[in-house]
């Protein structure tokens, strides 16, 4: 039972345009969400997070939006750069859940010149 879903396995975007990566979750107990970026042969790197008490968090080119009623979050990257090409994982956690993260299956982003 996949509690965190990333339904798009891949996304291709032109350099300079906006990349939008989507994530859905089913467990209403999740109250903290994170995005990780992963290059081949490296571990995931933390990118940005959002608490369930907020609906938006911004950090430079990266913005995460949370829609609790729809159990949906998205990561916006603008402008997209070739170095952003990587696999992006959405992850969720819940208070009292021991801080463990539940990950989606990832979306491969390719930013083309």
């Amino acid at each position: 039972d996949q509690q965190v879903k990333q339904n798009s396995p891949s996304l291709s975007v032109q350099e300079g345009r906006i990349s939008i990566l989507n994530c859905d979750y089913t467990n209403s107990m999740f109250d903290y969400f994170l995005w990780y970026k992963k290059y081949p042969a490296e571990g995931p790197t933390f990118l940005i997070s959002i608490s369930s008490i907020k609906d938006k968090n911004e950090d430079g080119r990266f913005t995460v939006f949370l829609n609790k009623s729809a159990k949906h979050l998205s990561l916006h990257i603008v402008p997209s750069q070739p170095g952003d090409s990587a696999v992006y994982f959405c992850a969720a956690s819940q208070t009292g859940g021991g801080n463990k993260l539940t990950f989606g299956t990832g979306t491969q982003l390719k930013v083309e010149l």
Partner: protein, 117 residues
């Protein structure tokens, strides 16, 4: 500063062999996690330590998997009698003690790719 390190980076084991995977967390990080990542999937939680105490081992797939962190720093994940389905990347992550603003922000090592033949 130094990040999370893992060794070996690659391990090939014959079916039935025992393996031990090591994780060195970021200095001062109290919490340590192990995840298993199969090909094409996201990381899946295995177990969690706070200092030397193993507080959650609900993700360990069988009793062939054992993890320890005896001094609250370095951790070892041991897999006994390896099977082909154990082939995966094993990721270790560490984070600061709970109660801080970034309690859920985990820092990952590069992983150990285990191949069981």
């Amino acid at each position: 500063g130094a990040g999370v390190s893992q060794s070996p980076r690659y391990k090939v084991a014959k079916r039935g062999q025992d393996v031990a995977l090591r994780c060195d967390p970021i200095s001062g990080h109290v919490s340590l996690f192990w995840y298993q990542q199969a090909l094409g999937q996201g990381p899946e939680f295995l177990t969690y330590f706070q200092n030397e105490a193993q507080l959650d081992k609900s993700g360990l797939p069988s009793d062939r998997f054992f993890a320890e962190r005896p001094e609250g720093s370095v951790s070892t994940l041991k897999i006994q009698r390896t099977q082909q389905e154990d082939s995966a990347v094993y990721l270790c992550a560490s984070s600061l003690a709970s109660g801080g603003a970034n309690v859920y922000e985990q820092y990952f090592g590069p992983g150990t790719r285990l191949t069981v033949t």
